[in-house]
């Protein structure tokens, strides 16, 4: 039970430093374009991320066109297929999910939820967005250069990534990809420093670390991971650029391409894989931890019940974050690295399942004895629970080295990672948009449309990815534009592939409804008021909705943890964090 009780008046320390004056923009350009206000930057990040995400959605439809109906479309060749697959993967992981969770939600929510007026370095925060925007432009440019974008797979494994047998390998495609990643990392670092320092230094009085909403814990920990993991990718991209442009051999051993001896020699392709996955595995949690945090708050708010086991949830986030740096080589069980690594990485990987499972139990136990409002955010949270549980459990197959051997590089892997870091976090993103849109715009999204959007997206995604595991179990390898003539693949797999494709088109099309809802509700949505979900956290306590420049009039003082829902004896079923009233204080 509550064991950190203390009196309210003791919990808000006196002010130690004066407030710093904000930069006040006066012109349209400095207010809305080159804005230094985290809320505007958040919206800029979100719009660009969702825009480029829609490109990735179209690419996924093209992939499914080919897999479901091979040989029907002349414009999809092996070459373009690999380009679609590569760009789809890279955009989704880096330019959509990372940018939206940290640049979008991070920027919007951190200052508001910790009770700050803005990020601590607003100018650097602005630069962060514009460099991200430039990275996206460079990425998009690669679609238009001769030879097209790289088709090396999103993992960009050398040597093939920079050789002529791969689309874009000897053209500009791979160069632009690497440059764009490097820019992304530079931009992200500027934003990331802001998010971490604002959480550490910008909290209002009374907002102790153990009173932070789990959303902030998730985004904060993910940002720390990103700041430590992205440099490994930066190093890898720069070294590969040198290999490609200057003829160095960081990742290139002596090799013969189509009968011709190349001048490379002495480099290690596996070194690249270590660097890539040293970034790549924490990246999974860079996407997952904000989703964990946000979904905790959505479930708690919409079930009108405190999150179960808050301290366990915090330590699980931190523990998962720390462990995520020593599990990376489970992506490399069949890479040819020293086989004894398998023992170590399988053990660490399965250990990480324990705190992750505890989080799932705690979400579920939060529902127990709750008062569950089946709002659209709650529906998406339940959708997250189902898909994340599914994807997390198949992780126990692939993390266990001996089980991974037969399944690696098959469609089972594709199904697993789409379920766990595609569908599940996107469920949270959708839920979060339905949840915070009223704060960002002052109007509610249409619930009716929202529910249709949820059911089609959830059921459709499940029908895409659940059966796909079995395509992999049959033995169908990933990254094959067609099944080919293989005795071990029954013909019914082609039928299943067509079914999956149809489900994918329906899900893709349903997102039009979502975009329509986002746009039409700006004008037609029901007025939200300042706290439509009757939530406890500080962003719902702002005097204006949407919050004005500087967020608050007087900075709020925080008296309690963010989960005082349905407190016995309280006049309402929630007590805001800045409510000094009676009831348990935690």
């Amino acid at each position: 039970m509550v064991d950190i009780e203390s009196k309210a008046h003791q919990t808000v320390p006196p002010a130690e430093v004066d407030e710093v004056e904000l930069y006040h923009a006066t012109s349209f350009w400095t207010k809305y374009v080159f804005s230094q206000d985290a809320k505007i930057i958040a919206i800029q990040y979100s719009c660009v991320a969702i825009g480029i995400g829609l490109v990735a959605l179209v690419l996924s439809s093209l992939i499914r066109l080919q897999l479901g109906f091979p040989d029907m479309f002349d414009f999809i060749t092996a070459e373009t297929y690999y380009q679609f697959v590569t760009m789809h993967g890279m955009i989704m992981v880096v330019y959509l999910l990372t940018a939206l969770f940290l640049g979008g939600f991070g920027n919007y929510l951190i200052p508001l939820m910790v009770g700050a007026r803005d990020m601590v370095f607003p100018y650097v925060n602005m630069l962060s967005f514009w460099i991200y925007f430039l990275a996206v432009i460079v990425l998009v440019a690669s679609f238009f250069v001769p030879g097209g974008p790289t088709g090396a797979g999103w993992t960009l494994y050398p040597p093939q990534a920079i050789l002529s047998g791969t689309p874009g390998g000897t053209g500009l495609g791979i160069i632009l990809m690497l440059l764009s990643l490097a820019l992304f990392i530079v931009g992200f670092t500027m934003g990331g420093l802001n998010y971490v320092i604002t959480v550490l230094q910008g909290r209002t009085r009374g907002m102790t670390m153990m009173r932070l909403p789990l959303t902030i814990w998730g985004i904060f920990t993910a940002t720390v991971l990103a700041l430590l993991a992205f440099p490994a990718l930066l190093v890898a991209t720069i070294m590969m650029l040198f290999d490609r442009l200057l003829g160095t051999s960081f990742f290139m051993p002596s090799l013969v391409e189509f009968g011709e001896q190349l001048s490379y020699g002495g480099g290690s392709p596996i070194l690249f894989q270590h660097l890539f996955w040293f970034f790549g595995h924490p990246e999974v949690y860079i996407v997952a931890l904000p989703a964990f945090g946000i979904v905790s708050d959505l479930i708690s708010t919409h079930a009108r019940k405190n999150i179960f086991g808050y301290r366990m949830m915090v330590w699980a986030i931190v523990g998962i974050g720390a462990l995520s740096f020593i599990v990376w080589a489970h992506h490399m069980y069949v890479s040819g690295m020293h086989p004894y690594f398998g023992f170590f990485f399988a053990t660490t990987t399965l250990i990480i399942a324990v705190p992750t499972a505890l989080k799932v139990y705690n979400w579920v136990l939060t529902l127990w004895n709750g008062n569950i409002h089946l709002t659209t955010p709650m529906l998406f949270s339940l959708g997250f629970l189902v898909t994340f549980l599914n994807g997390g459990l198949t992780g126990l197959f692939l993390g266990n080295v001996i089980v991974d051997i037969p399944l690696s590089d098959t469609m089972f892997v594709v199904a697993h990672f789409h379920m766990v870091m595609g569908v599940a976090p996107i469920m949270v993103i959708m839920g979060a948009i339905y949840h915070w849109y009223p704060k960002m715009t002052g109007r509610m999204l249409d619930e009716q449309m929202g529910k249709i959007h949820f059911w089609v997206t959830f059921v459709g995604s499940y029908l895409i990815f659940f059966p796909m595991h079995y395509v992999g179990l049959v033995g169908v390898p990933r990254r094959y534009p067609e099944l080919g003539d293989s005795a071990f693949i029954p013909e019914s797999v082609a039928t299943l592939n067509s079914f999956i494709s149809v489900a994918a088109f329906v899900v893709g099309f349903a997102q039009v409804l979502f975009i329509y809802n986002l746009i039409s509700s700006l004008r037609n949505g029901q007025l939200a008021g300042h706290n439509p979900w009757r939530a406890t956290t500080l962003e719902w306590q702002t005097p204006q909705t949407p919050p004005g420049h500087g967020n608050f009039d007087e900075l709020p003082l925080v008296y309690r943890w963010p989960y005082d829902y349905s407190v016995p004896g309280a006049p309402e079923d929630f007590l805001a964090q800045n409510d000094p009233g009676q009831g348990p204080v935690k």
Binding site: Q160, V334, L393, N400, I402
Partner: protein
């Protein structure tokens, strides 16, 4: 109510699909039955957790759905419950990890009696080399690759002279004879993948990787590449056969050695020069 039913439908549908769908792994042809067993064990353990947790969620959604006047409980923590759940989960994870690591130990330690076979991958075909009568493979190096020596075998190494070269043809295995597959790449990453073997491993230019198998079933099987290797990745295919011992001996007697291959080539060149 509707939402709770939907979750139950997802659970029941998933279980029924798992039990009755026709899509399952192709029958195994090597000693790695334990990999199949481990997948089955993992399906059981994770399946029970999946069903139990989701049915609990469905029950909660059904039982505690918003109703006028309902007040949620206030229960921030329950250390005892959280402790129990941690212990149970750890036990489940250990039950998967422990047998997995035992088999991994077998997988990475090759039995003494295994014969070495070299697989060479290049964009986008497979070649093979078997040791000759001396039982040893000669050395090889990508730098030695030329039109006349497509696998880069060291012509000065006496061990290599009687190596048997299979270039662009099927590979045969003898039933019941363990083999260590030495994997070498000429250009980019590949992965030697025969679904019926279960075992697979990347081939990396600049180094030799390996896995081992003991063929347990006579038959003809497809070879695919399982690591993206450029536009021809999906078409990098081959065929392997597992033969009875007699059939294997017959097949082996028809293959040519590296020395013979060089000789034939010299004869060809000579006869081409003559007229």
């Amino acid at each position: 109510m509707g939402v709770a039913i939907a979750i139950v439908v997802v659970v029941v549908g998933s279980v029924l699909f798992h039990l009755f769908s026709p899509w399952w792994w192709t029958p195994i042809a090597t000693n790695w039955v334990f990999m199949d067993d481990m997948i089955s064990l993992t399906f059981w353990i994770t399946g029970v957790v999946y069903v139990a947790v989701l049915l609990f969620v469905a029950y909660c959604v059904f039982k505690f759905q918003y109703r006028e006047g309902r007040i949620a409980a206030y229960e921030p923590e329950n250390n005892k419950l959280e402790g129990w759940l941690t212990v149970l989960t750890s036990l489940g994870v250990a039950a998967l990890l422990a047998p997995g690591l035992v088999v991994w130990f077998q997988f990475v330690n090759v039995p003494e009696e295994a014969t070495e076979i070299e697989v060479v991958g290049q964009q986008w075909s497979w070649s093979y080399r078997l040791p000759g009568l001396d039982g040893k493979l000669g050395t090889a190096d990508n730098r030695l690759i030329s039109v006349d020596n497509t696998l880069g075998i060291n012509p000065d190494d006496p061990n290599g002279q009687d190596d048997i070269i299979i270039d662009g043809d099927d590979l045969h295995f003898a039933l019941g004879k363990p083999v260590k597959m030495l994997l070498r790449s000429v250009d980019v990453l590949h992965d030697y993948y025969v679904p019926e073997f279960r075992a697979k491993m990347d081939m990396v230019p600049g180094m030799i990787t390996y896995f081992w198998i003991e063929p347990t079933r006579v038959g003809t099987f497809d070879v695919l590449c399982a690591e993206l290797c450029g536009v021809g990745h999906g078409f990098m295919r081959g065929t392997v056969l597992i033969d009875s011992e007699e059939d294997y001996a017959l097949w082996l007697s028809e293959q040519i050695t590296f020395a013979q291959m060089l000789e034939q080539r010299d004869v060809k060149v000579a006869s081409a020069v003559k007229p």
